[in-house]
Assembly symmetry: C4
Homo-oligomer: 269 residues x 4
């Protein structure tokens, strides 16, 4: 074993050690507390410089962490096979890239997003988010349908109500936003429909049909995911359960056959 490899394996052990993870989590927690404290102007304004230094120190700590994990990967590009590592890498890289720039808001948001690294560091949280993410592809079709319905209703809404209710249907973008509001059922009658209804008495057809179609699609999306999950859970379950029962019965039958073979062999004599 070459000295280089030996050294790398040691680094890998170090990086994957429980203690290393706990220390990183601690720094993420410190980061979370600092960005929280920054929102209090009575704290932030007098100690602005200290906050800046703390942030710089944390950024470099995270940079060292990522570089160590990058070096520990053999070969190093395997590091980028995990989406979580990409996420960690880009968040930190962006912190360095925007450091000198004047986009103060972007920089501050990035600092907050570093707290999201808690997900990539805590394994159980990572598995949970991975599981949540996996449900998205199966929803692709229904989301495309939803998008189509949104687009068609947004175009019609802008066509019909742009002059009557410019605040809600003034442009295609505003209409999409208003339709999103309607599908969450937030003040859809009081604020959106009733003022339009006074001018266009037939506009209820537009709103009611959108509410029915929109909630029907969401409702089916919901049911689809539930059924999918229950089915999957059952499958694994029955697979495990029945296999054994079935295998026991088959084993018994095998024994019966064995005995019959014995009888047959002993018989002709």
């Amino acid at each position: 074993m070459s000295s280089d490899k030996h050294w790398r394996l040691k680094l890998q052990d170090f990086v994957e050690h429980r203690f290393f993870t706990i220390v990183v989590m601690l720094f993420i927690f410190v980061n979370a507390v600092i960005v929280g404290l920054e929102t209090y102007p009575e704290l932030y304004i007098p100690y602005q410089e200290w906050f800046y230094i703390a942030d710089r120190v944390l950024l470099w700590i995270f940079t060292v962490e990522i570089v160590l994990r990058l070096i520990a990967s053999v070969p190093f590009y395997t590091f980028f096979k995990s989406g979580w590592n990409w996420f960690d890498f880009l968040i930190i890289l962006a912190g360095h890239l925007f450091a000198g720039a004047h986009f103060v808001t972007v920089l501050r948001v990035l600092r907050v997003l570093r707290v999201l690294r808690a997900i990539s560091v805590i394994p159980s949280l990572r598995r949970l988010v991975d599981a949540l993410m996996r449900t998205i592809p199966s929803l692709f079709n229904i989301m495309f349908l939803m998008g189509l319905v949104f687009y068609i209703f947004a175009v019609i809404g802008t066509m019909l109500f742009a002059t009557i209710s410019p605040e809600y249907f003034g442009s295609l973008g505003l209409s999409v936003l208003t339709l999103f509001q309607i599908v969450t059922l937030d003040s859809w009658t009081e604020a959106v429909m009733r003022p339009i209804l006074e001018i266009e008495p037939w506009s209820w057809i537009y709103f009611i049909s959108f509410v029915l179609v929109g909630t029907f699609i969401i409702f089916n999306l919901f049911i689809g995911v539930i059924v999918n999950n229950v089915e999957k859970a059952n499958e694994e379950d029955t697979a495990k359960d029945e296999e054994t029962d079935y295998q026991k019965l088959q084993k018994e039958l095998q024994e019966v056959k064995e005995m019959l073979r014995d009888i047959k062999n002993s018989d002709p004599k």
Copy 2:
């Protein structure tokens, strides 16, 4: 094979070719972009004529597409066996019928609805919508019950509150609309119930009972569909799974019987 039939089969191949579908989807996409751009007055007003021409060209392209698919069907009336074909046919036909008329709004809405043809053209979307549609008949009974409850509450609401709250319960139609608002739980207390409650202190009985009955029915509708789907999924699942297990066991038993028959036959000698 007659020359006519030969020619028709070729047309059928052409119409069902993947390339044909992609081209049609492309034109639907162009149609979608155009109706979207039309909503921007700064674009629409100066280029109004170009929009008109583009729309005419698209209408004729879709007409040719439908006519080709109609001719390719042998015999031609099989084309109308699919609801999706009817949908495509009527949308395009209506585009021609209203072309000269003055119903500008109807014409523009029709142009937008042509985007919905994306559903009939993309097979996976078509299957999804077909599946969604199939859940509707099983909901028929519960929807009839919902309609009955709506009607009875609407009549009582109009009777009791028409003079107190003409905006919400002024007529049977308005009452149905208000009940729909209440069942979506949008501002049902703030805007609808509380002003009436100040005049009629007992009116909460009406509102609370409707909210309870209405949400209870929707809740059961929801559960019914979930249970129905889980059951169906399980049935298919177990059917497939167990069949094989059961068949394997039966095959084994068949072998045992075969062996026993052998023993019996060899025995008496």
Copy 3:
């Protein structure tokens, strides 16, 4: 067979005949249309007398129907074993009792409620409502818990906020109503919590805890019913399905045993 019994059986046949049901349904439909038309003052005021006559005629038609069904029951008190018959009977009886009285509103509401008889007359609707009703007893425990939570929060709410927000928490009754509004998540922050929060900065504890506890209970009620139903459906399913598979296997085993017995019997010789 006595002449009386013969006559009764004939009446029973008549009452249970599909044609009789259809005629009753028709009159219920006419009743529904009439109560609907009554809500239009431009129709009701000039033809008030005609409406009165139509209502009287319908009431007597329904009375005859109920009496016929009552007589057809042998012995007659079996009629009252069904809750639906009680419902039909009381609705019609009340129509006669209040006929002379001055409670015009009660009388009109009763006339509308007669439309509900559609449920008791249409068998599929009756089964549906029966099924919905059956889910209620299993919810009893969770509804009692909900009631307890409502009562405790209502008392505390009245204690704390009666003077700050008399409109929402002025009395125990108003508090219960407001809590119901909060649990439906209708304007609970904008209208209810935020004005109180300005005076009592700690009041969010009350509202957030109620929203969490309330929705958590409803959420569990929901899940309980779903699981219950899926379980029940599965049970019936597996029972039916497996039985047959299992029975086939057992039958095969029986045959094997039969063959073995044959061998045994033929063997000793």
Copy 4:
């Protein structure tokens, strides 16, 4: 058996007797009625002293009850093994501790919370709440994720909108409250987003992304619990059901093997 033990067993029998439970429930009910009546100022002000006495009496009755149950436990510290007993004990203890103090509101709230003891006294309610509680640990991960998402959005929200909308995003605490309001979809567009949108046209990204992420997590939490429960229910079900079917088949096979063994044994001779 010593006289002391004998006396304790008798006490235990007494404390666990159905009659004892009913009497305690009765006093809890009286407590509930009294705290309810206290909310009516027209009753409370003239009879303030009587209310005070009734409350003192009830507190001492409950104290005696708890002490009896504490003594009846052998050894006495087993009493504190149940969370419900702790709950009963602390509620009553707090009643005594705050008795002389001036925290009138705390005292009154404690008096109302005593009604919650109905849960610990009624066994079926206790089981229900125990069951509800058990679902919480499995939700821990997803609730931690929710907390993380809330914290990150709250910090960003305070950073971006503190000056624009001080009422909703003025401090970290207010932002968390507003995010809770948004996730319940209560007036999230009308009251929260639209006023901010007028000043910051890009703020919709913040709100829409939070609504999507927030509802997606809640949606998955919901589905997770449903699937978990259905699975558990199915497991118990299949376990019970299949076991018997499988066992019957195995028994049959056992008999077949027995017969074969007989044949084998009888054969060689």
